[in-house]
């Protein structure tokens, strides 16, 4: 297993946000985590990136215990996140934002680095057009692309995506999910958190369903798409 989470508890003050969450992501997979608003999905990703303290349980990455690892070192290990609500740097232009993504890399003058840069701009031609534009002035869709592209710039082994489709037009959503698949095919493992269950499940190898801080269901993406309870709760089918 590339990423193994077992029995994780996380608290916000006195409120328990995660209750004994266990989840694993294997090398090369797209794993999806679906759940309603406030189920704890974002909290889990924040804990995985080291932005949120863990009270109990362990997180193992490539066999190494990283439960209490510092946030910045996790990026060096190969965990990268495109956060919810985008979190781009508004006062930096597109180019600088992408370069920030490669902050932890030591090979910033190398050919590999430039290739990664071109690869990201290849995935998101819109970003190439707007290289000098400030992050704060981009449209929602462009900001989302920038967040994902920026996360890729660190050459992650696993990419954590938090609600990449949020607030986007249907056509853009399609496009973003296609790109996520493309990224995965190019060799990056993806842990995708989504409310858009239809899209997310249909592209995932495996998936988990989260409710009020706990994992309540898991299975292959297809199996969960066909699951009547999932259908009713998350796919809007009665």
């Amino acid at each position: 297993m590339l990423l193994e989470i077992s029995d994780l508890d996380v608290y916000y003050g006195r409120i328990q946000a995660l209750r004994g969450v266990s989840l694993s992501v294997d090398d090369g997979e797209i794993v999806t985590l679906i759940g309603a608003n406030g189920a704890g999905k974002t909290t889990l990703l924040r804990a995985l990136s080291g932005l949120r303290a863990v009270s109990r349980g362990t997180v193992t990455f490539e066999g190494k215990d990283i439960t209490h690892e510092r946030a910045d070192l996790r990026v060096v290990h190969g965990i990268s996140q495109a956060p919810e609500g985008r979190g781009i740097f508004p006062g930096m232009n597109v180019q600088e934002n992408l370069e920030m993504g490669a902050y932890s890399r030591k090979d910033r003058k190398s050919k590999a680095y430039r290739e990664d840069f071109d690869r990201v701009l290849g995935l998101f031609p819109r970003l190439a057009e707007r290289r000098r534009q400030f992050g704060g002035t981009l449209s929602g869709g462009e900001q989302q692309m920038l967040t994902i592209g920026r996360a890729l710039m660190s050459r992650p082994k696993v990419l954590l995506l938090d609600e990449p489709s949020m607030g986007l037009a249907p056509k853009l959503i399609q496009q973003i999910f296609t790109i996520v698949e493309e990224i995965n095919q190019q060799g990056t493992t993806v842990l995708l958190v989504e409310q858009n269950a239809q899209q997310a499940l249909s592209r995932a190898h495996r998936a988990y369903v989260m409710e009020t801080g706990s994992i309540v269901k898991e299975g292959t993406g297809k199996a969960l798409l066909a699951d009547p309870a999932v259908k009713e709760a998350y796919l809007g089918v009665a």
Partner: protein, 373 residues
């Protein structure tokens, strides 16, 4: 910091939390035991405390007494400091507004008494002290409204610097205005009234204890008023503003108006303290109103525990009393005081006697800190 697994720091954090829990537990158990006592016993206890406070300058308790300065003067200074802290606590502790120029209101109060009371002032009205006090309160309150009106809409950090500027403006105006006695100040300020049976004045330089008793009485009255205010609709609005101003605004709390009230009430208490100060001193000059005092006032409130009346009084007494008690170390006292401020705040950021709600907020915040985040 190069530890990569955060383990030791995690333990450190837990240890710090442990300290907090134990001390909070200590405070809580005293509080619970106190409230468990029958009402008459509590009243008696309070009464005994009040009596002891009044008798302090006569008992001259052995360890407390200051060897190098007059104990009565030190007690008066501490009481005055406590009164100032109670007033500033309305602004900082209750409404959550950072005022770094509180000495300005204290100065307005003192100068009002001086200008209206002293026959030597430019006005020369020579009103008695008791007439000057309401004028002082009114004028400092007015100063609070004039300063607060345009500035309370600003964000917190800006309020800090603007108030700091205000405190300096008041002092520099006094330094530069002949009408206010300039750098030399104003003499001949009346003392509070009253004669003993033998015809001598109750309040005179020879009898500092009387000033201490007066200040103590004023404190009790003000504490009573502030407590009532705290539990009223106004107090709850302040609480809402302090915790989340935007949310309070959305819930329909007229935040600006309540902030202005907090400012004005705080200013009035500051002015009252200033008038006591002037009445005790008999003369004032701008050196009594340096910016450093504003900073010490804030330190008293936060050190004691912003929002908790007993806490801020304790903080004030600590700040006014300790340097006097240890005058023997005169050269080192402020240096040590500075270090003590850092150490106390690191180990007890909620203050010596914290406001319960604030302590809880802080405990919650500590829990949430991620390693290296």
């Amino acid at each position: 910091m190069t530890t990569s697994n955060g383990g030791p720091r995690q333990r450190m954090n837990q240890r710090l939390r442990g300290y907090d829990d134990r001390r909070a537990g200590w405070a809580r158990s005293i509080r619970t035991r106190w409230h468990a006592l029958p009402r008459p016993v509590r009243w008696l206890g309070l009464l005994a405390l009040v009596v002891v406070l009044y008798l302090l300058p006569i008992i001259q308790p052995p360890i407390l007494t200051t060897p190098d300065s007059d104990f009565g003067s030190v007690l008066f200074d501490a009481a005055l400091f406590a009164l100032v802290a109670i007033g500033l606590n309305v602004v900082i502790g209750m409404a959550g507004l950072l005022d770094l120029g509180y000495v300005g209101f204290y100065a307005v109060g003192a100068y009002s008494v001086a200008v209206f009371g002293s026959p030597n002032s430019s006005l020369g009205t020579g009103y008695p002290w008791l007439v000057c006090v309401p004028i002082a309160i009114a004028l400092s309150m007015l100063a609070g409204v004039i300063l607060g009106g345009p500035t309370l809409r600003l964000r917190g950090d800006y309020l800090a610097i603007v108030t700091l500027g205000f405190g300096e403006i008041v002092r520099l105006t006094a330094v530069n205005s002949n009408a206010l006695g300039a750098a030399a100040g104003i003499t001949g300020i009346p003392h509070p009234p009253g004669k003993r049976p033998d015809g001598t004045d109750i309040f005179s330089i020879l009898n500092i204890n009387a000033f201490y008793w007066l200040a103590l009485t004023v404190i009790f009255i003000v504490v009573f008023g502030v407590r009532n205010l705290e539990n009223s609709r106004v107090g709850r609005s302040w609480l809402a503003i302090r915790e989340d101003e935007d949310a309070a605004e959305l819930m329909g709390v007229p935040t600006f108006r309540f902030k202005l009230w907090a400012f004005a009430i705080g200013a009035a208490i500051g002015g009252l303290s200033g008038s006591l100060f002037a009445g005790r001193q008999g003369f004032i000059n701008p050196d009594s109103f340096l910016l450093q005092f504003s900073i010490l006032f804030v330190a008293a409130v936060v050190l004691g525990g912003a929002g908790n009346l007993l806490g801020v009084v304790t903080g004030a007494v600590v700040i006014a009393y300790l340097p006097e008690r240890f005058r023997g170390f005169a050269d080192y006292r402020i240096f040590v005081f500075g270090l003590a401020l850092i150490i106390v705040m690191i180990f007890r950021p909620q203050g010596i006697i914290p406001n319960r709600r604030r302590a809880t907020e802080l405990a919650v915040r500590t829990e949430e800190v991620a390693e290296g985040a």
